[in-house]
Subunit: 523 residues, 2 copies
């Protein structure tokens, strides 16, 4: 082994794939990217609603909870709520929750918590002014420029996980980056969760689709971290998104998810899917009232299960195209509800989940502007957990390999924007200004030479060549640059270290559960 | 003439092209767009720099002005500055300006003024939280999807003016939307300014390229408005952008522009072109120090010419790609300087000019995300006059017909985002929420039916069809939708009314000046 090879292996530390890395390095420069870090928003959160307006929405949601009620489709959940003081209709699934119970839940839920990853360097703070970006999750389709759109499969699933691991700006695996429908539904969760903790070392999510799937998810999170059940209960290490069936309904599998997760102190994110004009009122304030009522109902459920269990307030209110009924994303209306949703989450002292969304069918200008409008709103409105931050297309129906890379660039630009501007005397550059004659230039000055390498963000996608050079290169579009980049990233990807004992324990657990038949598929 | 035709003519008021409008209406629906209005930013301006940091930049700029000096390349300007108290080096063009003179200029310049258009409905407030979007200006090339990129010509120039008139969200003609190089340089300004006030009725700009061009511009603005010289002096009706030759230099034609414009109380916008790493220090704070020193030097010049003359603080600090030296736009660095520039302008109580920029070579994702990042910054940083708001491509080297339409959509989305969310009891929609059963939908409710038409922004470009329908339609990209839209807009365009007497006076002035030879071309 040559000296160079030895150094490479050493520098990757516990990497198992030093050989692969060397061949990638031999091919050409690696993709320049920001180091792993959780960006923080240095600005106060934007206020779109006045305090009075915020209270009006809060009060209206309490009216929904106290007078109209929410359907809880799981008898066990209704029993728990009844015992806690809610009014449960004996002849239906309807539960009415009074403001006292809501206030109690607000008081007991934490405003910030650490979400643990199997690699402790990847632990995330959920709350405050911290951002955590998640990869796209749950689309039924995947696409790339080479082969177009296809139903999700295992190869795409694994490759999207590799990209989510590779790019430092993706902090959390927010769900299946695509649904691999070639895996049998009864054991898909075992294969997928196993892939998640083998191909990545970041914090993970499991779906609340019945008892088996969510408890298997909790166990896999525990095994991957190599911790005891007690330590897992002290340290939230898994997240599960609970979507209400808007309007005013939470189904059985979701409630089962809350019960199993919250009772073990794992992180629940309640996200009502309140499309204004469809499953929610056509007025944004009305849609927010409904979103808020449903989110508070979920909050109460988590705190009834276990006071102090971590809960993230999720907002997903967008609008529909009133001509066609099609959902719209990254719209001015979406921006407003994202920001107002943040105000509501903060009113309750809860971490806030929102999303980077668009409704484009391809990686064109629309996919970019709807995304940046989303990012604008979620940054200024202080989102904490940002779902679908990289790779979402078609309003969530497709995971795009190129959109993932494009989003990585957009997220990195936002993160760079959030870093403070240096204003110390050297940064004010008075000597450099004095020394460059009027009409001169700063290229060759010592001040520039000392700083130029790291002075500015170096983009992945943006093509800044002049028109002639760009035309000679074949007039490439951003989409094409993203295509070559995702392939390079896959080639450069290295699997993170996993302790062999943990790997074995994981394999044994998955095998045992597979033999038991996995999970029922009649949901 | 049929009843319908009569009504159409009446409804267009003073339109001369009722017949054309009818035929457009017969062809199909007109483009849906927002009514003419000047958007206002309801949020307080974003603070990127602390008060101390802002003062550090201010103080450093005063050091540049007091100790290093700025070159003023016009003897008349140096004489005026000397008389006002500046220190003028007898052996060079260098002028040093002390803080007293700067403070005096800050005190005398207005923080807000009205920019008058020939149609008083198009008057614009410059300052406060008002936005005014200008069309692209000054590129040497134009392009569209059909025929590609070509040097600017009269037809493109006129068509870009028609589009700038057609779209309500474009408030001001910020310069030539493309340079029509088929017009002779000595009389180009006469033809172009004449086109501007005939094809549009919005506020206009004239270039400061020597005495003749700027004074002809002032006279054409006066004639077009049909006002006396005295009224013109009371009512700023023309704007001229002064770019410094960074670093630390203002050339003769620009200074001539300030003298002629400010002495007649017309609006001057001083915009240093301070690319960080090239014509300005590689640190953003250093580039801002230099931008600020140059802008203040220009401010002093305007106020020495005429205390109280309207002056707009221009910021255009971006970065270069340090690998190639190519200018970069819409970057995280650009966002920071746009916001910090707004803080500087407000420190001096001056209206603030900034821009919607990108460095893409084509109307792809890059062109969109760099633009939305720019718009994010200029909205949150309270830009007032937004140059190049619609149509800029290639870092300003090309006016794109499709990018203009795309930008119109982006600007309208930003404007819609800035409109307040209604939170009155009807908007909170409690009755609608009560009346829709859990799991139901709101499509058919009275609450929705009463509001759905105007509930949400209706985009020009965004394609929200589902994938299958979109694919059947030929998988169109945003660029293609923008292409068909600009052609429809040109077909639907109507020239604004111009009083025949004014039209004659304008023609006579242009003819006289043409016979006199126009302007010298040896600049």
């Amino acid at each position: 082994m040559s000296m160079e090879a030895t150094e490479t292996t050493q520098s990757t530390g516990r990497g198992r794939r030093g050989g692969r890395r060397r061949s990638a390095a031999a091919k050409g420069a690696e993709i320049e990217q920001m180091p792993w870090h959780q960006p923080r928003v240095p600005f106060p959160p934007l206020k779109l609603l006045s305090d009075d307006e915020l209270e009006a929405i809060h009060e209206a949601s309490l009216t929904v909870l106290e007078e109209y009620g929410i359907e809880f489709l799981l008898p066990e959940a209704r029993d728990m709520l009844k015992k806690a003081g809610a009014t449960v209709d004996p002849n239906s699934d309807l539960v009415k929750i009074d403001r006292g119970l809501v206030e109690q839940a607000i008081a007991s839920s934490p405003s910030e918590f650490t979400l643990h990853a199997r690699n402790p360097d990847r632990n995330l703070i959920m709350g405050g002014n911290h951002l955590a970006f998640g990869c796209v999750s749950s689309p039924p389709n995947a696409s790339d420029l080479d082969t177009g759109r296809r139903p999700g499969n295992t190869e795409d699933f694994q490759n999207l996980l590799r990209l989510s691991q590779y790019f430092n700006i993706i902090h959390v695996i927010g769900g299946y980056p695509v649904e691999p429908i070639d895996r049998h539904a009864s054991t898909r969760h075992l294969d997928c969760l196993s892939d998640m903790v083998r191909l990545t070392d970041k914090a993970i999510h499991a779906y609340s689709l019945g008892y088996e799937r969510i408890t298997d998810g909790i166990e896999i999170a525990r095994i991957a971290r190599g911790v005891s059940h007690e330590q897992l209960e002290r340290e939230p290490s898994l997240i599960s998104i609970i979507n209400t069936n808007s309007p005013r309904k939470i189904d059985g599998p979701m409630l089962r998810g809350i019960i199993e997760m919250s009772s073990r102190n794992q992180a629940i994110c309640i996200t009502p899917f309140t499309l204004s004009g469809a499953m929610a009122p056509v007025t944004l304030a009305g849609a927010l009232v409904q979103q808020n009522a449903e989110a508070l109902a979920g909050l109460v459920m988590t705190q009834v299960v276990r006071p102090g269990a971590p809960m993230i307030y999720g907002g997903f209110t967008s609008n529909v195209d009133m001509k066609s009924g099609a959902p719209a994303f990254g719209t001015p209306e979406y921006m407003k509800t994202v920001i107002a949703g943040g105000q509501l989450a903060r009113r309750y002292g809860l971490p806030y989940r929102t999303s980077n969304v668009n409704a484009a069918n391809t990686v064109d200008a629309q996919s970019a502007y709807e995304s940046v409008f989303s990012i604008w709103a979620l940054v200024m409105g202080h989102g904490n957990l940002i779902k679908h931050a990289a790779g979402w297309l078609e309003g969530g129906l497709c995971a795009s390999f190129e959109k993932l890379v494009l989003d990585v660039d957009l997220l990195q630009m936002a993160a760079k924007f959030l870093q403070p501007m240096e204003t110390d005397p050297a940064a004010l550059a008075l000597d450099a200004i004095r020394d460059v004659a009027p009409g001169g230039h700063f290229f060759g000055t010592e001040h520039t030479q000392e700083r130029y390498r790291d002075a500015f963000y170096s983009p992945i996608i943006s093509d800044w060549r002049n028109y002639e050079t760009w035309e000679e290169a074949g007039s490439p579009h951003a989409w094409q640059k993203a295509n070559t980049t995702f392939k390079q990233a896959l080639s450069d990807y290295e699997a993170p270290h996993l302790d062999p004992a943990i790997s074995d324990e994981l394999a044994a657990f998955v095998e045992k559960r597979r033999e038991e038949g996995g999970a029922p598929t009649d949901f």
